[in-house]
């Protein structure tokens, strides 16, 4: 494995752990965007160029901004630090999960190959084999758009 991979991996893990441990929620979100950029870099490193750029576009450009809006609208900037007992529960569940996954991976074996995903190939496959899923995703996104607007809309005072 090359050295860019390890740098990006370190960046991703740093961003992820900062996002889950910092006290200030906006700092958490900024750390989350570092983590997403790291993952996008990993995609680029693995030869999935379009996906890496789409990752930045969707996650940093939309999801992180949405989270920022939610933080400011719910006025939850500064938080009390998590109680130690809760953090312990988290670690108690997370550490064995990592252990089991790592054990499963280290006992497997694979064959490395060198593929490249060009954008026209992706487009062709998406329009031929995956046309129905594509349409369903479009429907889902429309439904989610309308649903989000309806849920987040102000409740009418007259209903009381």
């Amino acid at each position: 494995m090359n050295s860019p991979f390890f740098i990006l991996a370190a960046l991703t893990i740093f961003g992820a752990s900062a996002a889950m441990t910092l006290r200030n929620m906006v700092h958490c979100t900024l750390a989350l965007s570092i983590c997403f950029i790291g993952i996008a870099g990993l995609y680029l490193n693995l030869g999935a160029q379009f996906l890496g750029l789409a990752q930045v576009l969707v996650y940093v450009g939309a999801v992180v901004i949405l989270i920022v809006f939610a933080i400011l609208l719910t006025r939850s900037g500064e938080l009390p630090s998590p109680r130690p007992s809760r953090a312990v529960y988290g670690i108690i569940v997370a550490a064995p999960t990592f252990g089991i996954l790592a054990w499963a991976m280290l006992t497997g074996a694979t064959v490395p190959v060198q593929p490249q995903a060009h954008i026209d190939q992706i487009g062709r496959v998406m329009m031929h084999h995956y046309l129905l899923p594509l349409e369903i995703v479009g429907l889902l996104l429309t439904a989610a758009l309308i649903g989000a607007v309806v849920i987040a809309m102000e409740e009418k005072q007259s209903t009381k």
Partner: protein
């Protein structure tokens, strides 16, 4: 001869790389691609500031800067020196690290956007397979830096300005991307170099630019309006509405950091204009077949300067919008129009060339424009307009 002049920078770079030691060659090549971008576009920024101040002054019937140098043309130099020597004030309650990082991130992302713009034949920093997506991904990071600036200042005006800016940029990103989708469909590629190549060639003296098709014209108009909003230019400059929220998200910045914001904003504007040129105006191609002897890089910068002139003209002409007008315009007019333009581009792709194709493709755009415009203007469409003045 014309070939040599056209490729002079490419040849210079190749010879410089060729004469450097072997182990340094990749580094020299990268450096020689990046440094011109870092030099040329900030100089263009200096030229633009003086043009803008002079032009706006003429539109507003005054002189503009005329004290430093001949006709005041050294004003940008004086401004630069002033901002370099000014004290850098950071508010006591500010989030120091984020406050420091925000202007740097803004300028960095603005420079990254130039890496996929072909500014001449064979003159591009990185020809990516999905270059247009790269551009939009990087400009998404720009929104984040604006939010960082506004939030870390701990000032309500900064925060208000940042939230306005982010909401506006997100809303106008949808029509911006959708209006470039029609070009991507027509060119069948996301690489900026290939998009420019697809627009090469002339019929008679007229070029094959996408802006000279009905859907291309509609797409270009939508793209430039969205680009104006995306770079927070007037009439969409609510995020820095001086009369309401002082200076928006960079209220709490002074000295060189303020200059960096200014620089980042203009660099973003040049970059998005450059993308518009690449997508719709044939990139570095000459506008008429008998002008192809002029070097390609001159055409790119000529087109850029003309569009910047249009931006300055618009700024001097139109008043600032209100927030609800801004949002309504983005979601109720721009978005449906962008979808209609995509439909028209699809029809264009599958019809034989001729007058009929022109009519069939122009019809949905015109109909959509009239229909949506009629609905948005609330039925007061065609009768005589009534002006109301303050007593």
């Amino acid at each position: 001869m014309t070939q040599a002049v056209d490729q002079v920078f490419v040849t210079l770079k190749h010879s410089a790389v060729f004469h450097s030691p072997t182990e340094l060659q990749p580094a020299v090549s990268i450096l020689l691609s990046i440094v011109p971008v870092l030099v040329v576009f900030p100089s263009l920024f200096a030229v633009t500031t003086i043009l803008e101040r002079k032009g706006l002054a003429r539109i507003q019937n005054r002189y503009g800067p005329n004290r430093v140098g001949p006709f005041g043309f050294l004003q940008p130099l004086a401004d630069g020196l002033k901002s370099l020597t000014k004290e850098d004030i950071v508010p006591a309650s500010a989030d120091k690290l984020v406050h420091f990082l925000a202007p740097l991130l803004l300028v960095m992302t603005a420079f990254l956007e130039y890496s996929i713009l072909p500014i001449g034949r064979n003159m591009i920093v990185a020809d990516l397979d999905s270059g247009v997506v790269f551009f939009f991904a990087v400009s998404a990071a720009m929104e984040l830096s604006i939010f960082m600036a506004g939030w870390s200042s701990r000032n309500k005006y900064s925060l208000l300005g940042a939230m306005r800016a982010v909401a506006q940029m997100i809303s106008y990103e949808a029509p911006l991307i959708l209006s470039s989708v029609c070009v991507i469909m027509a060119a069948g590629s996301l690489s900026t170099v290939q998009i420019v190549e697809k627009q090469a060639g002339y019929s008679g003296i007229w070029p094959h630019w996408y802006v000279l098709t009905p859907w291309g014209f509609g797409g270009f108009a939508l793209f430039m309006i969205a680009a104006t909003a995306e770079s927070n230019r007037s009439p969409f400059d609510l995020p820095e509405g001086e009369s309401e929220i002082i200076a928006g998200y960079f209220t709490e910045y002074s000295g060189f950091k303020f200059a960096l914001f200014f620089l980042g904003e203009y660099l973003g504007m040049f970059a998005i204009t450059g993308l518009g040129i690449t997508l719709f105006l044939g990139g570095w191609a000459a506008p008429f077949s008998f002008l192809t002897w002029v070097p390609s890089w001159i055409w790119f910068f000529a087109k850029l300067l003309v569009l910047i002139g249009v931006f300055i003209w618009i700024r001097g002409t139109l008043p600032r919008l209100r927030m609800d007008q801004l949002m309504n315009f983005a979601w109720k007019f721009m978005l449906p129009m962008a979808l209609v333009v995509i439909l028209s581009a699809g029809i264009w792709r599958f019809m034989p060339a001729g007058v009929l194709r022109w009519l069939v493709c122009a019809a949905p755009i015109l109909a959509g424009y009239l229909f949506i415009g009629r609905i948005l203007s609330g039925g007061q469409g065609l009768e005589k307009r009534i002006y109301r003045f303050a007593e």
